[in-house]
Structure formats: C-alpha cells, structure tokens
Amino acid sequence: MKNITALLFSVLSTLVFSQKSEALIPSQSSSVFSINNLQLLEKISVDELITYDFMEDIHQELFDGSTEAKSLNDAGIDFDQRINIFFGKDTRYEITGFTFGIKDKKALFSVFDDFDFSSNWDGKTEIYSSLFNHLVIQNNAAMLIRVEPVEALVTATTDSIWYARGNLSPYSQEAQIEDASPDDDTEETEFIDLSNSIDYEKNYNELLDSVQFYLKKDGLDALLKGVIDRGERLVNHAPAFNELLTHPVAGVFYIDRSRSFWYLKTILPRLFVDMKEIYEGNLITGDLILRDHAIDIDVTAQYGQKLGEIYTEMEDSKFDPNILKYIRSDHPAFFTYNINLRKAYEKAFEILIPILSKQKNERVIMNVLVLKLLDELINKDALFKTYKGSLFMTFNGVKKVKTKKVEFKYDENTFEYTDVISDAEEDMPVFTMGFSTERGDIPEMILTHLSQIASEIENKGDYWVLNKAVFNAAPMFMTHRNGLFIVSNDQTFIEITSTDMGKKR
C-alpha cells in the first residue's frame, strides 16, 4: 500500500509540476500553430524538421551570427513537448512568439546567448531579455515572446504628450524657421543653421521612441502578470484549443476569427455587439496529417447560423477548369481559391446591412448610405463577371529576372566616371496569379487608359508590362487569356501563355 501511495504521489507530482509548453500560450493569442513533435518525429527527423519554412522563422529568432555552427538540435529543446507558434492582436498590442519544452537549460543558453537575465518573477518563473525578445522559463517549459504596441497607440500617446507640452506640429516648417538663424546664402551655412536650430522632428521622433519603449515594457508586464499571476492562458480559456491538443496528428492550428473584431470594441462598441452575434464562436481549426508522400490538412470551420448562410452561398460555385492549364507539375507550390462572389455578396448584404443600418455612428451611417447607393447604381453584372471569385496562385521557384542597374563607366585618360544605366539580372521568387473573368475587356480598358498617363505601363501587343513593379526594380506582366486575367513576374511564362497556350480571348 505504501508503494502504491508513493507511486500515485509520484505520478500526481509529475502531472502537477511538469509544465507543458502549450500551457504558457497567452490567452490573447488568436492564432496558434501547434506542432506535436512526438507524432511528427515518428515521420521525419529533427534535422528534416528544422528545414521546414515554419521552423525557419523559429530558427531566425534563435540564431544569429554568434551561433552560426549550431542548429535547433543543439538548443536544449525538449522534443517530447510541443512547439507552439502563436499570434494575437488587440487594440493596443500585437504579440508573437512560440512556446517549447526545455531539456537542457545550459545548451539552451549556448544558443540564446544574446539573452540576459532580467528578473525572477515569482520565485518560479525566470525572465530573460534580448534586444527585441523576451524568454519566460517556468519549470521545463519556455515562451519566447515579442510584445509590440500597435502604431496607433504609440502615435496617439506620443501626440498627447507632445501637444500637452504646448508644442506645434513637429512637421510644421513655421515652427522650425522661427528658431533657425536667418542665413541661407550657401549650402555650407545651411548646415550650420540647421545645427543651431531646434530640430522638432528629431525631438518628436525621440519622444516617439521613448513612448514605444515604455509601452513595450508596460505591455510585457501586463501580459506576464496575466499569464503568470492570473493564469490568463489559452488552455484556460479555449476548450476548443484543448480539444485540438488531444488529436493524434503531427500538428494542429487554431484561429479564433471572433477576435478579429476586438478593434470595434472601443471604436464602435454598438457595432461590436451586433457583429459579435455573427462572428461569435467563429473558429477555424485544423489538423496537419503527415502521410507517406503527402501532407493532408483537415480544416473545420465553426460558425453561427447567419455566417453559415453567407458561407453556403459563397461555396455555391464550380471550379474553373481553365485554371488547371496554368498549374504545372514542376511548380513547387500553388493554391486555388473558388467562391461564388456574387452570391456571397448578396447574402452578406442581406444580413449585414440591417445590422449596420441600426448604428448611430455617423461614419457607419455614411458608409451604409454609400453601400446602398453603390448597390443600386453599380452594374453588378459587369462587376461580378469581371471578378467571379475563382483565382489561383503558383510559386514558380526562384529565377533570374531582368532589372536595370547603374554602372560606373570610367574614362581611361582621366579616370573620371559617369553613371550609365545597363541591364542586370537578379534572383527573384517568381509568382503567377490569375483570376477567372468573363469581362477581360474591363482590366484591358483600365490598363489602356492608365498607360496613357503612366509611362511605367506598356502594351506589348499580347500582354502588358508594369515596369519597376516589384521592389521598384523588376517588371510585372499581365495578360488576358482563356477567360483568365493573369499577372506574373515571369516574362517567359507570360510570353508563352500569350502565344502557345491559347489565342482565345
């Protein structure tokens, strides 16, 4: 009996005191991707796991130049526990991070070597910080987190302090001219004048930095108080997430779409209440199942009746078989999207407009008026035949694309140099995107008129070019073929598409 009691105590102690990594996910998280390492590592090795793109993000957070030779395998991570990547955003803060198990703390800090000890929160929870990130360690689980105040909060707080001190706009030229010396004869003196004047913009930006720094600290403190002191953790607030964790699959994802409306809570509280009715319980959950030569994703969407009605109309659509012609077997990745946009619009209009019409907010009322007028006046046949709701996107790999560069050309006699524009090639990820259209003449009409005023848009006969469209360097190509409007940064693909793959407009 004594042995059984000891065994029970031991099991209970393990259950109570062993911290699971998923237990550290903050309740503010609206999206979580949880990797079940036990399931996953039966199928693939850790070395293979760390080569996946989603692990690359974790890798980048963990490793810098000083840990060049190390890998996730050396990081002291307990692969018997889950790795959970989370994201959340509300009106004030955006949180991103991941939680994981710790097997060897010493090894962990040989990789997290830019983290300094910050505090021991409650005697059981250690906090470490680096320039951007914070590491929270509780028992044998850890959470790496970044808390960023949203830009609107930083700006609003800074402005309230700035103007409360009697300052004018930091960007107002009058404010600066008043303090500058009235000497503007030469370029040289211009610099001296500026250095003697008060740089309001610089002062404002410094205040902005200080406010951001304080808000980050404040946000982190509030989050840690919630997670550590008050148990504000996702596992305590989201039964659906807990249920997901019981699935015997390689990974699960959890997206709480009802959180997307948090921002309405303070801006339009009445609308928040009404919209909440529609989006209440709108959860997208899914399982990631590894097969021998494939990955299956099993998605479940939970929604109420009204949202369900919109989804039903949205899904009442046939896949456009023309799209298949543009997805080749050698494309590393692709996705297709197929909805009946017109039916979805009409159902959404029917459900949402009465809710919006009840609002007292001036902005909402004006928007409802505009929506109703557009609904009455716009040629919906033309609109929904131009974009029906079927689209595809392919990733065609990394290719050399033509760009322009500036070269220095030297005079052999004087070694003076001039800038000369010449052709160049750079590696670029190549994408193709297209959508089904019965009114390809409408995008063509738009491009024809835009090309008259924008020299960057050129008609090449069978296709259009938008120069310097990608990163202000590489062109995009557009064409209309086989009932599809296609956009790509792969010139060869567009040229072949425009000639070989069909002449039928």
Binding site: L194, F408, F415, E426, A473
Partner: protein, 223 residues
C-alpha cells in the same frame, strides 16, 4: 571615410553586388576633395526586400527615413568640423546609390574630422583598433591603408550570398597636381599624363584581404 563604413557594413555585406569608388584629389598643399560612392543598384531587389523586414539575422533593419536621418546627421556634424567644407551627400533610394563629397584644407584635417564625427555618432570614442592613419601625406608621397579591424569586422558578417560579392568592385582613384614618379601596388594603373592613379579590386577578394588596396604613391619633386 573608410571608418564610416563601419555603420553601413551590415547592410552592405548583406547585399551581394556592390560597387564602391573612393576618389581622392590631393593638391600640393595637402588640401583637396574626397568623393565616395556606394552603388547597390545591381542588388536593389535584395536591398528592398531586406528593407521591407523589421529585423534580419537578429539585427534591426533601418527604414529609409532612419538611413536618411543618419546620413543627414553625419553631413551636419562633418560640415561643422573646422577645415571641412562643401559637404554633399546624395542618397538615391530608387537605385540605392550614395554619393558623398567634401573639400578639406588638409588631409590630416579630413581624417580628424571623420574620426570625430564617427565617434560623436557612435556616442563613444573611436576604438583604438580603428585609430591610426589610413592616409598619410608628407608633401611628396601619399600612403593609404585599410585598418585591419575594419576588414575583420566586415568578415564577421555572415552572408550566404558572399560568393556573389565576386561581381562587386572597390575602386580607389587618386588625383594629384603633379606627375607620379612611382606606385607600390602593382595593380595600380596610371593615366597617360601620370597625374592620376586607378586601383580596382574585387569586393570579395578585398573582404578576405584588406591589404589589396594598400598603395604608396610617390610624386615627382616640386619644381
């Protein structure tokens, strides 16, 4: 100016193709003009994609506005140094080309002003490793080096595209009032009138061997 590169090194070495020109005009009295150009136009897709990030390799990526502010700060500080005038910096944010130029009343003044400006911007005294003369002028010969610490720092930045640096160049040009008698770097070319030197090295090789640009130019005696 080489030391100022310390500030830009992370961005420069994260990009693959880079062309740099330093163009020094040195008059008999030690005064002159320094022009410095950094051309990243052949890597503008890559530079733009890095600038679109918040951080890269655990280092904060500056915004264009922050880069402009830093450049303006450098310009104002350097312009206020005695003996320095006509400080101009042109930043082309479409092709990513930076062109700097300034006049100086003596080459020693230029070095001192650059050191002080960099120390002020870094809010710390110049590190001893970067101290010392990178250019010296005795009225007849001019000697130029790249401090080893700068080269070491550049090598510390890891970049998977480093082999692509092989297409980049560093060009060092010197212009003088009188004819050149001899140069110590065998790769250094002279113009037909022998009043200018041209030394171009590969950016990748320079990263591995900072002594490639070392050169002493001896001028003919003053008449």
């Amino acid at each position: 100016m080489m030391r100022y590169l310390i500030i830009l090194l992370p961005l420069l070495f994260l990009t693959s193709c880079i062309d740099i020109i330093d163009d020094l005009t040195l008059h008999n009295d030690g005064s002159g003009t320094l022009k410095y150009s950094i051309n990243l136009s052949a890597s503008k897709v890559k530079v733009n994609s890095i600038l679109a990030l918040d951080s890269f390799n655990n280092q904060k990526v500056p915004s264009i506005e922050e880069i402009k502010k830093t450049i303006r700060e450098f310009q104002v500080l350097l312009a206020n140094e005695p003996g320095i005038s006509n400080v101009k910096i042109d930043l082309n944010t479409v092709d990513f080309i930076v062109k700097f130029s300034c006049d100086f009343n003596h080459v020693n003044t230029l070095q001192k002003a650059l050191k002080k400006t960099i120390a002020t911007m870094n809010e710390s005294p110049i590190l001893p490793a970067y101290d010392g003369d990178w250019i010296s002028w005795d009225g007849t010969s001019v000697a130029r080096i790249i401090p080893g610490a700068i080269a070491e720092k550049s090598r510390s930045y890891q970049n998977s595209d480093l082999p692509l640096l092989k297409t980049g160049t560093y060009t060092s040009i010197g212009r003088y009032d009188r004819a050149i008698a001899k140069v110590t770097n065998v790769k250094c070319k002279l113009n037909p009138s022998k009043t200018a030197t041209f030394l171009q090295v590969n950016a990748f090789e320079l990263r591995n061997n900072n002594r490639l640009l070392e050169n002493t130019v001896v001028l003919t005696p003053l008449r």
